[in-house]
Amino acid sequence: MNQEQLDLLHGYLNGSLNEPDFARLQSLLQENADARRTLRSLSTVEVKLSQLALLHSEAVRVWVDPPRERGLSTRWHSWWPLTASAVCLGLMMSAWWWQASQRVFATVVNEVGVEELTNGSSLRGETQWLKGGSVELVSARGARIVIEAPAEFRFESAQRLWLMKGRLSAEVPPAAKGFTVVTPSGDAVDLGTRFGVDVPANGAAEIHVFQGEVIAKASGNASNQSLRGGDAVAMNGGGSTARELRSSAFIQPDEMHGLSAGLAAGQRARSEAALTDMRNDPALIALLDFESGEAQPGVFYTVQGRWPGSRAPEFVHVGDHLKLDVGGESEWPQITLAAWVRLDRLGAPYQSLLHTDGWNDDRPGQLHWMVTRHTTMRLALRGNTLAPDSEEKEMYPDSRTSVLPEQGRWMHLATVYDAGAKTVRFYLNGRFDKETRQSIAHPAKLGTAQIGNWDRQDRKLSGRVDELLLLGRAMSDEEIVALFEAGNPYR
């Protein structure tokens, strides 16, 4: 049937046809069996809608009360109780359906900067769009789910969640075994476990299993794949490809409390005020907060930063990096490097925070800043040497405190280099960690560089970097503490 013919049918049902259109409708129905069938089906739709609308309205009582004003026949009178009970029973059954359709599939138990939902909101079948922030939900069967913006999702039932976009982590208790996340490129069926699903705006959905077992069903693929704790796959084109596990790329329930408390305490405004101060510092070399929206050169994903709806680069695949070119051939006798970082995994030999391109004898003082396989920080300057009494065994200044406990959380890393004092000082989350002394200490050099990688060899940082600061002077311990405290997203 074409649209014009459908319009005639709808016009007839709306009671809005004029005489010529009505004549056309009659001949259509006379000639076309399909049109008659469609009319009967549309009438069925109307009957169902009327039935539900009746339950929905005050008019229910009009139906159930004996309709005296209609002028009943005596025949109807004796008939009435039967019909009334039938109607009552019908209403009860329909009411049951209506309640079922209104059943709450999940409840919001925590949110961080989500404008669209508040704590205690009930989620039914409606589609949710989250521009920024993260939301923690508990399904009717007790599955605990955190979804990070930007996201679009909808519950089909307490056990089936459609995730069109966004990043989700789920903790599924035995009662909710079989909980399924449906994505455009495949489904994740949980068998009692903890897992994450990442649906980027462009590209394949990924399933990461932190613990337990998940069945991955790529769309268009008849066979299923069983994933165990530690496994990760990307689903695309009906197949799946193994990925490295990034369990810490997903916000999990325990992180939510700290984030929501931080936001409630006004940390975001404090952070912005501190950034403004830093921008006015005469020694500022660069401050990247990734918020301008300008395309940064490099290969990386743009995801949410520390604040709801903010932006940060995320490095996922081999070769991912962000290019930076500041300072040229300038030399800095003192330099402070600081960044908010969220590491998804540890154990790689080197994860670059900032690496100037190359590593050349003719560029003494060029710097490489990283997290090493020892899960500590390192600041290496070309041509520098350690003082004889230093404890490091690998030629370069390393921090002492492992960042391991901070994996999967935002952490603040800072290093202060002073060529005159021949010292490298490390700070983790504002706390002074360690000072390493140098014998030879060249002034620091920048120039072309990569954040999150190195141009000579893959030193990809797995995770996100937010707010990278390069300052051409040595910050004091107090300043570093203040910088951390102002920018800390947690409370």
């Binding site: 459908l6 319009d7 709808h10 007839y12 049902l13 709306n14 009671g15 809005s16 046809l17 005489e19 009505f22 009659q26 129905l29 006379q30 069996a33 008659r36 069938r37 469609t38 009319l39 009967r40 089906s41 549309l42 009438s43 069925t44 739709v45 109307e46 009957v47 169902k48 809608l49 009327s50 039935q51 539900l52 609308a53 009746l54 929905h56 309205s57 008019a59 009009v62 025949r75 109807w76 004796s78 008939w79 109780p81 039967l82 019909t83 009970s85 039938a86 029973l89 019908g90 059954m93 359906w97 359709s101 039914r124 079948g125 409606e126 589609t127 089909e156």
Partner: protein
Amino acid sequence: MESAKPSPGSPDPNEGFLRLWMRHEQELRAFVHACIPQAAEVDEVMQEVSVVAWRKFPTLMDPEQFPRWACLIARYEILMARRRHARGRLVLDETLVEKLAEEGAEEMSVRHRQLDALDSCIGKLPRERREVALIAYAPQASMKQLAAQMGRTEGSLYQLLARIRQELLRCVERTLAQEAHAP
């Protein structure tokens, strides 16, 4: 009044009728509505059909045949109602009503499945659409008032309702097609 009280345990013809009527009332209503678009007239016809069907119920031999049998009763009542309202209104030709009813009587099991599928299809509508539909289909709903509340013209509200019906019909057809292909 007391006639409709079935005693537990004894096979009561009222109870038998009530069960069948309950099960098939909505599909019968849909059958009637296909021939008569006005809700008030459908109510009137359904009232007559229920009375006649109840009176004639003892003559029905096979309960399986209830939907078809009730359709025959309804078809007669539809034609009666059509004659009552024929003058001065846009009313379908009698031959066309006959044809719609005749074919409709053959489709009662489809009607039943369609109504079942509609439960979940309406549940899947976006919330705003579902609410608009339920308000518009409530008894005594005024399209003019609703359109004004929504800041729309009446015409555009009718178009919206048409789109909602069309969306539901597509969902129903998809659901039934999937059922047909299920193992």
